[in-house]
Amino acid sequence: MSHTDHQKKQFAIAQERSRLNDLPGAIEVLKSLVAENPTSAIFNATYANALKEKGDLGLALEHFQKAVSLAPKSEMYSLGLFHLLWGQGRREDALDETKRFMSVSDSDEYRKIVAAINTHWPHEVPVPKSLESSD
């Protein structure tokens, strides 16, 4: 994925505003960048992350999912989606994303997360058949 010079300049503005903790200003620029280049995974992901910080979780999810679909092997975007889902209490969905990512790539970060979950609750309770995963 390539970005035009104009988009790079715009992104530099977003970076500066982000550095200054100007979240609304950064969101404004990132929103225009996504509109200009909707197939840019990084624009979608940074925009999603800013929206998450703002608290607009629904729109953040939408753009994280877009970023992941555009770059399915990107650990950074996948983790962004994972943490958004996890933070919303959608932990099974978050782990579905973990499973998806680990099926196409590898991630020490995800390994640590899974290990943390399984270590935190080391004694697995038998799961009824109806709740077993179908695969």
Binding site: M1, S2, K8, S18, S74, L79, W121, S133
Partner: protein, 206 residues
């Protein structure tokens, strides 16, 4: 396991109910051994009694738990029992007037299954002192290898770990904050801040 044959104890005691002298003695009543003078015209030795264990009507239990089941209580099944006994390779003998003594709880268990276990207070699943299987080590190694997996199974194991984690959270056991996940989220948030991104390097990776 119903019908499973367990044989334990020393053969020394299988005729304990007739003082280990089945040729000279019989036990037609199931209560006590009796001298069979009609067959053997010689005095019997001192009255027989099991060295230890219990003596109940129809069932004689030796010191090691071997049970001799008098056919008097199972005449209707005697032929089937004999067949089972032979099949199991157990010793059978006929004494007196068609009375058949069958040895071994396993024979009766083959016919009656759990019933005999209930009657004698023994479980048909009771552990027996069988010698160790020389192949056990190989089996253990194979099993451990299967559990640990190889490098090729790593991905599969990882997916299983994720499934396990998923089941954990499905059961609502994930309400506590896990520090490592929180830290991971902070790293993820920071990584996605525009000022931490080198757009030029991403052009190639995307």
């Amino acid at each position: 396991m119903a019908g499973r044959i367990h044989i334990s104890g020393s053969p020394t005691y299988v005729y304990a109910y007739v003082g280990n002298d089945p040729l000279d003695r019989t036990d037609p009543t199931g209560n006590t051994g009796a001298c069979n003078k009609q067959v053997y015209k010689s005095p019997c030795p001192s009255p027989p009694a099991p060295a230890t264990g219990t003596h109940i009507r129809g069932v004689h239990t030796g010191a090691t738990g071997v049970v001799a089941q008098s056919a008097a209580s199972t005449k209707s099944n005697s032929r089937k029992i004999i067949a089972a006994g032979m099949a199991a390779g157990l010793a059978t003998s006929e004494i007196g007037v068609g009375e058949i003594i069958l040895i071994g709880i396993g024979v009766y268990a083959a016919i009656e299954g759990p019933k005999i276990a209930g009657e004698t207070g023994q479980s048909s699943d009771a552990p027996t002192a069988s010698p160790p299987d020389p192949n056990d080590d190989d089996k253990d190694r194979a099993r451990q290898k299967g559990e640990r997996g190889t490098a090729n199974d790593d991905a599969h194991e990882q997916l299983k770990d994720i499934d396990r984690a998923q089941r954990q959270v499905r059961q609502g056991r994930s309400n506590q904050i896990i520090d490592s996940i929180k830290k991971s989220e902070q790293r993820s948030d920071n990584a996605l801040k525009p000022h931490n991104i080198d757009l030029d390097s991403l052009d190639d990776s995307e």
